[in-house]
Symmetry: C2
């Protein structure tokens, strides 16, 4: 994995893929699967929605750090396994044969098998809505990886795989942030 310029990190979340979020509770790593994410600005700042029902939420609230890892379609069954089991009784890195890699600026681990990893700090929790606001502090991408297609949860148990890409850079020029 090589470092990815932070100004480009929002492009990993903007398309709305299912992501993995790693946390660390002071003793051990955990992973959750989420689809409820949103870009909030280009620097980048992200929102995720999670709450008390989620075992990772306590670690996120206490440790105030996480890593957003971007899995690709070849990892879908692991992603679903992670999303349908609980860190309360499962070491998910071991169970799903994923490799934790030390992050640069936060305590939770990167996931080696993912296309990209974004190290984040919690900058706010909007308690009323269970929204966790995250600021990215470092990002990494595995450019050598052949499979780059992410998946999008529909919410009914089906998933949509990335299809073809359409280039509209010229039409979009006035709206793109600098350096992208």
């Amino acid at each position: 994995m090589r470092q990815l310029d932070l100004s480009k990190a929002f492009t990993l979340i903007e398309p709305g893929p299912v992501v993995l979020v790693t946390t660390h509770d002071g003793e051990k790593d955990n992973i959750m699967t989420i689809s409820w994410t949103m870009v909030m600005d280009f620097t980048p700042v992200f929102a995720i929605t999670t709450g008390e029902w989620n075992h990772s939420f306590a670690a996120l609230r206490q440790n105030r750090e996480c890593v957003i890892a971007i899995p690709t379609v070849d990892l879908l069954d692991k992603v679903i396994g992670i999303g349908t089991s609980s860190g309360a009784d499962t070491n998910k890195f071991a169970k799903f044969k994923l490799t934790p890699v030390p992050a640069r600026l936060v305590r939770p681990s990167l996931i080696k098998e993912c296309l990209a990893n974004i190290e984040c700090k919690v900058i706010d929790i909007v308690e009323k809505h269970n929204i966790v606001v995250l600021e990215a502090v470092a990002a990494h991408i595995d450019s050598a990886r052949k499979e780059k297609r992410t998946v999008h949860a529909v919410g009914d148990g089906t998933f949509i795989v990335d299809g073809r890409k359409i280039d509209r850079k010229k039409m979009m020029a006035s709206k793109l942030p600098a350096g992208i």
Copy 2:
């Protein structure tokens, strides 16, 4: 367009497509293009991020209603045109040859040409983060439409079209909301 059960409406937003949001300022309709959306619960409640820089935001704040319309890939150039022009000086329904259809429970219009339309009420605005929290009150879908593929903004001027669908309903059974 036929009515869509509200309990299924979150499945239109969960995959993270680019959406159009219509507002009404008391005098006229407007449309904006956004990619910064998030499901917050299945009832459904959604978040969108927008702010003072956006002409629609004033109408949304004042009128507290909008429609989230889901465009498909055949509408991409209109979607980009809407996103790169301002309602301050443009009648976007006219300019982009889209047909406003009266909504059932809110004042902003549905967009006839879209795959689906979700009527929403603003239930909160988290000022600190420019997050608008929306509750859906009615939803409509054009099931007869052949083109159903949505598009996902990458944020660099490229867009990813929906590819194939993978069924994991059995694996996901424990996590799906009732009636989906």
